[in-house]
Amino acid sequence: MTDIMDPPRAGGSRTKPSRRSLRAKSADGRGGGMVTGAATWPVRIVLTFACVVWLMPIAGLLINSFRTRDSQFNSGWWSVFGNPLDATQWTLNNYDRVLSSADANGANMGEAFINSLVVTVPATVIPILIAAFAAYAFTFMTWRGRNVIFVVIVGLLVVPNQVALVPLLKLYGQLGINQTFLAVWLTHLGFGMPLAVYIFRGYMSGLPGEIIESAKIDGASHFTTFWRLIVPMSVPALASFAIFQFLWVWNDLLVALLFLGRGENTVLTVALQGLQGQTGQGRELIPAAGFVTIIVPVLVFLSLQRFFIRGMTTGAVKG
């Protein structure tokens, strides 16, 4: 019995078998072994089940994105497993059309992809830069009103974004920047800053104060200390916030729809929503367009995932 259970566990973790053998020694023989072995299998099954449930729709979407309009509408995506070699059902046409030709509303996913990058990259980098400066000032400089201002900024976290939308529209109208990238950058900057300042300050106040003092004695100005010491040491917090802000802005529909709308500056989310005409034409393009939309978030997540959880908790908990 134990022999059958052992191999997968040994493969999964090196520490577990030894802990289990200790427990088996203390308990009387194989009874102890059976208890720990039984506890593992339900966990594995539940995890596998969860993964399958989560991945299934995405797999379906991916398969459908390569199928022709007819086969998409006439049979479910799973039917491809019956005759995977039937070449007539497969096509790259969806991607071709999504990326090049204009859709029902005149938006082009290829251009929208570029627009999304133009919106997202500055809307991620600028808040991080400003928030890091602010967090440095809140952590390492002493000035009158420091705590009050910090509380006000963190307090802004509880204000729902929707409250600000109408006033912002009016303001941007007066400034004449509605439907421009600047309007979206400013909006995301404003909505992203409080959380960023909060997380960065929490992280920075966990850095050893002697390092800053040592830099002071070494003759470093605030500017040098910030760039040469604080930024490199805060990379986990900066990276984790960067991921969150990037994903949030990339996936945002509301702000983009309100302040950019449709037209030449349209971003992916808005274009995706407009792809399907009212009469259902262009419906076959949705899976391919969906994949174009999520490709960047997936890449960002995969390349920075080691910061994803660690940085978020360290930043918040240490403060």
Partner: protein, 369 residues
């Protein structure tokens, strides 16, 4: 290289009504190794940080050489500091850590490299220059922190308990290394520690602080032989000095069953009928029964050549040098290691003539010379 002068320097933290450092006056010679020592919270680190410029000076002045640095920022004081936790920059290599200050100062790259390598040679760090601090042992990190100070060739070295993160054996080794390095470089050094053994072995002079007030500043020898007050007497020396409340008798003081002769001048200087008598453990001798102080032996510590007995006595009240200290202090005496008394035995101890210290019972100040 320069002299350092604390001139009535005072630090009062906002919200406190008692200053953490109260009118500190110390003159440090050029090239001198001065150790600030005292129990925790005595203001020794604050004093050092005031000299570094990390702590504001509320009153008084601090001079480095002939410059008044009281209101200068740390970088303009030309001092280098070694921190207790080393404060190495974790993302930089050892070489970059050591060269950081020079880089900021805009020193030419080749020159930085040269000076870093010189310092690394002195500290035996040459093979670690390209490593990051996390790949070094505690002792190596400590040396990097020292190296960072040396590379700058500052006017004053400041060290804030640089050895307290090392294990006991390494601490003793490094202690000697730092002391000899300081002699070789000849840089004025202010060193903070709570360990009086470190203070006695390393310093040219030792300054004992308590509650922000300088109790005494002297050479280790003089500090040991001639403590200015009860606190220094009890603080310096290990095991600690026995401090007894004794009555003044004709021509001396009554210690247990006998009279210990004490100079007339000392007795005259005393304000009351009793004084505090200090006797170091090594200045006590076994004497015949009925003479001296009867001491019941609680613990015998055998060290080979010597043995220390820790006991208690009813004949005299023990004077507490530091009112914050916890627990009752035992009566300690050094005896011959070959035939120490047994636990539970009662022995009679008398101080050697001329080896007693007398302090005023109320003020705690030394009486006579």
């Amino acid at each position: 290289m320069a002299t350092v002068k604390f001139d009535e320097a005072t630090r009062l933290y906002p919200g406190n009504d008692k200053p953490s450092v109260d009118k500190l006056n110390i003159d440090i010679e050029d090239g001198e190794f001065l150790v600030l020592v005292g129990p925790s919270g005595c203001g020794k680190s604050t004093s050092l940080r005031m000299l570094a410029g990390l702590e504001e000076v509320n009153a008084g002045k601090i001079w480095i050489g002939d410059r008044d640095v009281t209101n200068l920022s740390p970088k303009d004081r030309d001092v280098a500091m070694v921190f207790q936790n080393y404060a190495l920059y974790p993302h930089m290599t050892v070489a970059d850590n050591m060269g950081f200050a020079l880089k900021i100062a805009g020193v030419d790259k080749g020159e930085i490299r040269k000076r870093v390598e010189e310092a690394a040679k002195i500290l035996d760090l040459e093979q670690y220059l390209e490593r990051k601090p996390k790949a070094l042992s505690g002792g190596q990190r400590q040396r990097v922190a020292m190296g960072r100070a040396i590379v700058r060739s500052p006017q004053v070295f400041l060290m804030d308990e640089p050895l307290s993160n090392l294990d006991a054996k390494l601490r003793v080794q490094t202690r000697t290394q730092i002391a000899s390095l300081q002699r070789r470089l000849g840089v004025t050094t202010v060193y903070v520690t709570h360990d009086q053994v470190e203070a006695m072995t390393m310093g040219d002079r030792v300054a004992v602080l308590k509650d922000g007030i300088l109790m005494q500043c002297d050479s280790p020898r003089r500090m040991y032989d001639h403590p200015d007050n009860v606190f220094v007497a009890g603080f310096i020396g290990s095991p600690a000095m026995n401090l007894l409340d004794v009555d003044v008798a004709d021509g001396g003081v009554k210690v247990g069953g006998s009279t210990v002769p004490v100079e007339r001048a000392i007795l005259d200087a005393s304000s009351g009928k009793n004084i505090t008598l200090g006797v170091r453990p090594e200045d006590l001798e076994l004497t015949t029964e009925g003479q001296g102080i009867p001491v019941t032996v609680d613990v015998v510590e055998e060290l080979g050549a010597d043995a220390y007995i820790y006991g208690s006595t009813k004949a005299h009240q023990h004077v507490e040098a530091d009112e914050d200290a916890e627990g009752e202090r035992p009566f300690i005496a050094r005896v011959d290691g070959r035939k120490p008394p047994k636990k539970g035995e009662t022995v009679f101890l008398a101080p050697k003539t001329g080896h007693v210290h007398a302090f005023d019972a109320s003020s705690g100040q030394r009486l006579g010379d």
